[in-house]
């Protein structure tokens, strides 16, 4: 269970999150929608521990742990995973090596044995096949020369291998064609279980057709101004944010 209370965060002098309250119970998928610049990506970064944001107030508990007090790698070990909106390129780092290092770091943190190269490749190949990714994506440098869609799929591959219990997907659907969108949604759906939850940041109803959320929240001006069921996403798709924003004002 993710419990966010009064979360406020800034970058430099600019206050971006102005008091977020949000509960995501285990087993649920919640969508975060909202206009550009409303703080959606910042929320994802703050939850995963990027240190150029300063938390100025509030608390975040995840399964009883004080997330804000933990290093990014400790949050990852506790099950938090952020799928980046713009995945980072790592020239000189082989993708398979990157994935295995990450997986083994998390296994180590859980007291599990590390996987050797052979065990890992077997696992990774099964996942790339399921995600309809070409095999050579494992051999290439991380995200270097990847198309937008390949980068997003590489995020989903990482998620599939690391098996987080809380996934934050930051516009993972943007730049994907309909087939890729379905693959991404299937990738998340495959992880759904009573112990898995997800925060899905998106602009579009399209992804939510495949990845049906339990709740939809509208984030504007650094606050959640409205929450509702899946029907809220359809309403926003039809009439835009103007109505919701006017109502909240």
């Amino acid at each position: 269970m993710l419990e966010i209370r009064g979360l406020a965060a800034s970058i430099g002098d600019k206050l971006i999150l102005r008091g977020i309250d949000l509960n995501v119970p285990d087993g649920e998928v919640h969508a975060i929608m909202g206009p550009n610049g409303s703080g959606k990506s910042t929320l994802g970064y703050v939850l995963s521990g990027r240190d150029d944001f300063t938390v100025t107030g509030g608390s975040v508990l995840y399964n009883g742990l004080d997330l804000l007090d933990m290093a990014p790698e400790a949050r990852a070990a506790a099950g938090v995973f952020l799928a980046f909106q713009a995945p980072i390129e790592l020239p000189g780092v082989n993708n398979a090596n990157f994935l295995r290092t990450a997986l083994n770091a998390i296994r180590r943190a859980h007291g599990e044995s590390e996987l050797d190269a052979v065990q890992f490749l077997k696992l990774a190949r099964a996942e790339t096949k399921r995600l309809a990714m070409p095999d050579d994506m494992l051999k290439r440098n991380v995200n270097v020369g990847f198309s937008g869609g390949e980068k997003k799929r590489n995020e989903v591959l990482q998620m599939a291998l690391l098996r987080p219990s809380l996934a934050i997907l930051d516009e993972t659907d943007s730049g994907l064609d309909i087939d890729a969108l379905k693959i991404v949604a299937d990738g998340v759906n495959a992880l759904r279980s009573p112990t898995f939850s997800a925060l899905v940041i998106t602009h579009h109803q399209r992804l939510l057709d495949h990845l049906v959320p339990n709740r939809v929240h509208v984030l504007a001006g650094g606050r959640i101004i409205r929450s509702g069921g899946p029907e809220l996403a359809r309403e926003l798709e039809k009439s835009g944010y103007a109505g919701v924003l006017a109502e909240a004002a």
């Binding site: 521990g49 990027r50 990014p72 790698e73 995973f81 000189g92 780092v93 990157f98 770091a105 990482q158």
Partner: protein
């Protein structure tokens, strides 16, 4: 027969006067080198000539140290994986045509005092495997080895040089390399000297038509160090790589200088030099590409990149192009930066602990320069040295 000498250029000259009758080889060459050294001095030392080539590297600490010289050989040659023929400079003291004692003070010093060195020959068409030369410095000894490598047409050799030692010694090597038509030398150097030592390696290579010089130096050790490589591409379609990686910490100073001379058409030179600088260390890169009037269709590329791990570290970079032909493709670039915060966060957000993430990014930074090393065993040996260096930084 080792003697304690006085310090500075005068000390080395006095040492030469004492030893010269016992030194092997042509005394005229020795005397000329001594005359040149008297004129040039130790750059940065008192009464030395100002030198553009030594603009960023001062040898004052070398001038202020008393060394014992000479010591016998100071190196071992492992031929167990090679069919190359080997002889010693002490027995066959030939000074080749490439080194320029008249221009370079450390080469003059070496020519004046060299007492031994490894001479390797590979006959035409032979793949002679891997030769390994280990040098060991110790105490306050001064070593001036004079090595030579000759590859006949179509010959192939991998030369692995590893320099180590303990103490505040001076290791001042000159290596002369002749690569025949279509021949291929892979020259991998690991400079892992004592942190108190002075290391200078001056390499002169001549590459004939269709020949290749693939050079990579990993520089980890030394108080003051300089790798100076002169490559002449003298036959058409010759190729040279002069890659390097310098990982420095504390107050180490390491200079990587190279001059590639395109003297014939259709030649290619490629260079990637990376510096990883911690503490108050200082890295220097000087690279010059010279293209002669006849060297049309020259393809030259040079990249120098530095990763600063500390705000007190410093890099000096001086790339130069000197082009007299009109149909050439030459480019060079230099970058300086810190570890990328976004890349670091990306790795950590995947569960990779901070120190491991930093190590991965440093290794990744070095990859491009190391890619020249294709022999798996040598590559992994160098990789282990880099990992060990990192562990010492993190400790």
């Amino acid at each position: 027969m080792s003697i304690v000498q006085q310090t500075g250029a005068a000390g080395f000259l006095a040492c030469f006067e004492t030893l010269k009758d016992a030194l092997p080889g042509d005394p005229v060459v020795r005397e000329k080198a001594a005359a040149a050294f008297r004129l040039l001095g130790l750059p940065g030392g008192t009464s030395a000539r100002r030198s553009e080539a030594w603009k960023y590297t001062s040898l004052r600490p070398v001038a202020e140290t008393a060394f014992m010289t000479p010591v016998v050989s100071g190196f071992d040659v492992d031929l167990s994986a090679s069919t190359a023929s080997f002889s010693r400079f002490a027995e066959n003291p030939v000074f080749g045509p490439l080194p320029r004692p008249d221009r370079d003070p450390m080469v003059a010093l070496n020519t004046m005092l060299a007492e031994d060195g490894a001479i390797l020959r590979v006959p035409a068409g032979v793949d002679a495997g891997i030769v390994r030369i280990d040098s060991h410095g110790n105490g306050s000894h001064a070593l001036h080895p004079r090595h030579a490598v000759h590859l006949g047409p179509g010959a192939t050799l991998v030369l692995l040089e590893i320099a180590t030692g303990t103490g505040g010694y001076l290791h001042n090597a000159v290596t002369e390399i002749a690569i025949g038509a279509g021949a291929h030398l892979t020259h991998i150097r690991l400079q892992d000297e004592s942190r108190d030592a002075f290391h200078f390696a001056t390499i002169y290579a001549d590459v004939a038509e269709g020949g290749t010089y693939d050079g990579f130096s990993l520089v980890l050790g030394g108080r003051i160090a300089r790798t100076e490589i002169h490559v002449g591409l003298t036959g058409k379609n010759a190729v040279a790589h002069m890659n390097g990686a310098q990982l420095l910490t504390g107050t180490q100073h390491a200079d990587f200088s190279s001059i590639v001379r395109h003297a014939a058409p259709n030649c290619t030179s490629r260079q990637t030099v990376k510096n990883v600088l911690n503490g108050r260390s200082r890295g220097v890169f000087q690279g010059r590409i010279e293209v002669a009037r006849d060297a049309q269709k020259t393809d030259g590329y040079q990249m120098n990149q530095a990763l600063l791990l500390s705000p007190d570290a410093e890099i000096d970079s001086k790339p130069e192009l000197e082009i007299f032909a009109d149909d050439v493709k030459c480019s060079h670039g230099a970058t300086v930066g810190e570890l990328d915060a976004e890349q670091l966060f990306y790795l950590r957000s995947r569960g990779v602990p901070e120190n491991e993430a930093r190590a991965m990014l440093v290794r990744a930074f070095l990859t491009e320069a190391l890619d020249l090393v294709t022999n798996d065993a040598i590559r992994s040996m160098l990789g282990e040295k880099i990992d060990l260096w990192w562990e010492r930084q993190a400790a």
